[in-house]
């Protein structure tokens, strides 16, 4: 176990593949910056890889105070064991109080392995992180300045705040797109620390035979307008309405988890806690009831239009325009109106 170190730094795991930083570590810097400032400690990025030194400067430009660089030929490609071992060693050595990971495939593969090895707590898919105090129920003991790990919980519209007060470090994964991207400041200076890496052949138990990457079918994060359909759309055939409305608006088609699970559309289009988090100018929610897990991924849209035949649908609670009606009538009317406006 790691000693409780209240002066410990705030860390982010700087996920990179082939020397390219993912978006999530940069997004984590903006939140990590705030947490570190609140605690009055340094914000550091841990960069693991082979030939990744120049990423340190980039991370500092985005707001990190320090970057720990762990380079080794065996870290060239991500593997659970090698990365977990190096992160474990770094955490042991520097005793950060908080470590944040992107809830990417690699982040969700790596963070629990480290949490298990350090016997620390880990909260998955946080939508917000704050610093706050907690009093334990049993002994009324006050624990100051803990990491509040905030995430939607299951069973309705519930948000849970999770803490760990007796195990260090406090760790959480955060979904991509949940935190805004900071602007880089090329004048920002920071400290780059090169770490010695010790790895043995046994730390690479996987042989990677083949890798095939495909571009995402849709870039929801970059879309100004999103038209999303839920289970209420009814069928894959009827989902054509979503595509048609999206097409005439130059928008990206999206969906709830329920619609994806029903096979209406590919997972790349999923918005919500287990999909993509978006903040477009306009979000049109069609046949979406608005579970908290979905709202977590779209509530920060500038304007929300909701179409649903159920006047009690929770989505109406966050909509700027609510249309109570049959989507099979409303959506074609919208398409017709937009096409007419475009002609004028």
């Amino acid at each position: 176990m790691i000693d409780v170190n209240r002066k410990g730094e705030v860390w982010i795991f700087a996920e990179q593949h082939n020397g390219q930083l993912e978006d999530t570590p940069i997004e984590l810097i903006s939140k990590g910056r705030h947490l570190a400032d609140t605690l009055g400690v340094k914000l550091a990025a841990a960069v693991l890889g082979d030939g990744v030194k120049d990423l340190a400067t980039k991370l500092i430009h985005y707001g990190a105070d320090k970057a720990y660089i762990a380079e080794h030929p065996m870290l060239g490609t991500y593997q659970t064991n090698s990365y977990a071992k190096v992160m474990y060693d770094l955490i042991h050595k520097h005793k950060p109080q908080i470590v944040l990971y992107g809830a990417t495939i690699a982040g969700r593969d790596l963070a629990p392995r480290i949490a298990s090895a350090t016997k620390a707590g880990l909260t998955a898919d946080c939508t917000d992180l704050q610093i706050g105090d907690h009093t334990t129920v049993k002994d009324k003991k006050l624990h100051k300045n803990l990491l509040f790990q905030i995430r939607p919980a299951f069973g309705g519209n519930i948000i849970a705040t999770i803490i760990n007060h007796d195990r260090w470090p406090q760790m959480a994964t955060v979904r991509e797109g949940v935190m805004p991207m900071p602007e880089p400041d090329v004048k920002r200076k920071g400290k780059i620390i090169e770490e010695k890496v010790q790895l043995a052949q046994g730390d690479l138990p996987l042989e990677i035979l083949q890798e095939h990457k495909r571009p995402k079918k849709v870039d929801l994060k970059a879309s100004r307008i999103i038209v999303a359909g839920g289970a209420g759309v009814g069928s894959k055939d009827n989902f054509k309405l979503i595509w048609d409305l999206a097409n005439c608006l130059g928008a990206a088609p999206a969906a709830t988890r329920a619609a994806v699970d029903l096979g209406f559309i590919d997972h790349d289009h999923q918005v919500g806690q287990t999909g993509t988090t978006v903040r477009p100018s306009l979000y049109i929610a069609v046949g979406i009831s608005g579970a908290i897990q979905h709202q977590a991924g779209m509530s920060q849209s500038q304007k929300i239009v909701a179409i649903n035949n159920d006047p009690e649908a929770p989505i109406f609670g966050i909509a700027h325009y609510k249309i109570i009606g049959d989507l099979n009538d409303v959506v074609p009317t919208m398409i017709k109106t937009i096409k007419e406006k475009a002609i004028k």
Partner: protein, 281 residues
């Protein structure tokens, strides 16, 4: 919810977590193709026996119910520790888990269990491509594509919903195992049937019924934390570093909601307003 903010499991029906069904299906496919012996372990309340019977209907060889009040309030770390103690009691080459549960969605127990067992993990498995001697080749989802990896056994796989279409229960096995029970279920049943019997009588009746079931191969194995030799400090509440600070019901609200009639005119006005506000270009 319980007062401490943990989930009140007894208020929920025991369901087969969807991706655990994919994991079981992959195990069955391995057995069909390469042979082997499938043990299904679940940690939960006595009602979780339902899932074990379902596993037997589908083709599992052995079912083990891991049930103990001291498991209550376990987070993913404590859960993976308890499961690791149970798995260590078995003879295994491959541990299969669903990628994640549909309640918490954390996807943490698989990797944590792999770490506790000290075995290689292959997460997000979509397909098992080869199993030869002591090596396994699998295709895993890496978000923006896939990766084919090879590893020496033992391994732990977490299986996604895309891996397969779980088979349904076999009628013949259903007939055979519909009466399979775990000892705790036998006890509950006998208590209900004999409300006036004293404890000693109940105990005897339970022992008798269990041995009869065992002879027929219908006794679901039941383990508690003592049976799997856990260190209680790492189980339940004390083994769980994450605690609930607060639970809030959220009512997210728009600052101002305009109701639009589903008429052509009203919709045209709304579109017009969105264009005026430069929301639609």
């Amino acid at each position: 919810m319980n007062d401490d903010g943990t989930v009140k499991r007894s208020a929920l029906p025991a369901i087969f977590n969807p991706e655990d069904l994919n994991a079981l299906e992959l195990a069955l496919q391995i057995k069909d193709k390469f042979g082997g012996h499938i043990t299904v372990i679940t940690m939960g309340l006595p009602a979780a026996s339902e899932i074990l019977r379902d596993s037997l209907f589908r083709g599992a060889d052995v079912a083990i119910l891991l049930t103990d009040r001291r498991c209550a309030a376990s987070d993913t770390l404590a859960t993976s520790y308890i499961l690791s103690c149970a798995v260590k009691k078995t003879d295994y080459d491959i541990v299969l888990c669903g990628r994640q549960a549909i309640d918490g969605d954390t996807a943490q127990v698989g990797p944590q269990l792999a770490e506790k067992l000290g075995v290689t993990q292959i997460t997000y498995v979509e397909e098992l491509t080869e199993l030869e001697g002591k090596t396994i080749t699998a295709r895993r989802n890496i978000g923006n594509g896939w990766q084919q990896v090879k590893a020496a056994l033992p391994v732990l796989l977490t299986v996604t919903g895309d891996a397969n279409e779980p088979r349904v229960a076999a009628a013949r096995k259903m007939m055979k195992y519909k009466n399979a029970l775990a000892p705790i279920e036998v006890e509950q049943k006998i208590k209900a049937e004999n409300p006036d019997a004293d404890e000693a009588d109940i105990k005897e009746l339970v022992a008798h019924k269990c041995s009869k079931l065992e002879d027929k191969g219908l006794l679901i194995k039941q383990w508690d934390l003592d049976a799997i030799e856990t260190d209680l400090n790492w189980c339940g509440q004390s083994g769980s570093p994450t605690k609930v600070h607060r639970i809030q019901s959220v009512v997210l609200a728009a600052k101002e909601t305009k109701q639009i009639e589903p008429s052509e005119e009203a919709i045209a006005d709304m579109i017009h307003e969105l264009i005026e506000d430069k929301i639609i270009a």
